[in-house]
Subunit: 250 residues, 2 copies
Amino acid sequence: MQPVTDLDSLSLEETTYRRLRQALMEGAFEPGQKLSIRRIAAALGTSAMPARTALRRLATEQAVDVLPSGTAIVPRLTRAAFRELGTIRAELEPLALRLAAPRIGGPRLSELEAIVRDGWAAREANNPEEVLRADRDFLFVLYHAADAPMLLSIIEALWMRRGPHFWDARWIIIGRVPAENRHAEILDALRAGKGDEASAELKAEIESTTAYLLEQMPFADDPVEDGGFDRLRSPAGSTRKRRAAVGPSG
Amino acid sequence: MQPVTDLDSLSLEETTYRRLRQALMEGAFEPGQKLSIRRIAAALGTSAMPARTALRRLATEQAVDVLPSGTAIVPRLTRAAFRELGTIRAELEPLALRLAAPRIGGPRLSELEAIVRDGWAAREANNPEEVLRADRDFLFVLYHAADAPMLLSIIEALWMRRGPHFWDARWIIIGRVPAENRHAEILDALRAGKGDEASAELKAEIESTTAYLLEQMPFADDPVEDGGFDRLRSPAGSTRKRRAAVGPSG
DNA sequence: AATGAACATTTGTGATCACGTTATAGTAGG
DNA sequence: CCTACTATAACGTGATCACAAATGTTCATT
């Protein structure tokens, strides 16, 4: 894969935006976490300006919410919002896969195979971080292959909104007994040139995972009992200090 | 319809953003038109800051393109981009209609009826501006009724990108002989409680209109002959000066 | 110890400025 | 009449400042 851009030649505002975007998609922030302009600017060693614009851009995509005071906050999803997210994903991501199917060549297939293998190994090793990473990588290799830039950016926006909660729920996700390896089946369908089958499989995966999480995950509008949102953190009591908004060194 | 917010209580940046967004969706700008920060700021009587943030937000939604120099420009769509737009719309807008269908009550139905009547009258009067407005209003009443905020904002982003070209092509659109009144049929289906039928009808409309325009409209990557982009302006030689970016008085 | 008021800090917003780049118009040369 | 160059204007970017609103903290009071 070619380097998307030379980071050095980009404006500060653009790099700030991309780093926040990536962090959000990967679940590096916790739901409810406040992202203040000055803090982010300080963490990146710039003035407030690039951080301000970057945050407002994210708010436009609804990747962050914005309090009445103007402060950006990592969204806490309501059940309705999470359901909506699932509904849209179940429509758009299979579409992307359908567009990508005829464009997947041999090299891409082996790349995908490797990712599926990694994901499977991580699952057996009970390593949820790695499982989630592999799942995400698998899908986005496909979505990039669709060569539909608008569609891709819409899907990314959906993932940004979902990312923080997904990350929080990684122990729930990993706890689900995987009847079969769905990504392996998608891969098989792609190898056989059955794009529509792969697409249907993906749609089923998104819908069933969404339904499962609606049952298992706590949401912002659930009645609070015993700490509410703060259960289901990682088991080894990781009560560490909230991580810095953006670390300049990664 | 309730006033969404009171404009006076909003930040300058937010009002700037909303005005540009509306203008884009309605096709008030021409493809290729440059939107400079300072010009827009001057037109609104503010400093450059709100205009800067507003334009960057629009760029994030891909509602405007950004030249290498950083200047925002109203997009000129390539055929591929227009096709992609149609493909995404054909997936999302029927979804929105499906979600909206069970929520459409009597008052909404009469509102929709009135809009359809207006549109039909405008078509007979050969008034393309009014036809396009009615079509847009009809659909967005439905999309709002879906009560799915993310979905709505995605759809609006798609329309923003399409708006300028659509406006340019209004004489082509109006010139197409309408076999039947599709929106009336959608309305009938809704009245009968057949949301899926309405949705399928809408999908067909989007797909056939997209295909039709792909044949009839000139695109940014078409070979230029005889003025290229500049044919198909309104017949009464409206060679008026390019309208101001944003008029402060509306 | 719990409550509330006063203070200090942090926050977003918008304006202004400096800097380097890009686009544009005018002019000279072919 | 067209092209190439140059000077001037306009542009985007990022930093900094002032201001008002919101937030968090401290301390006195009950």
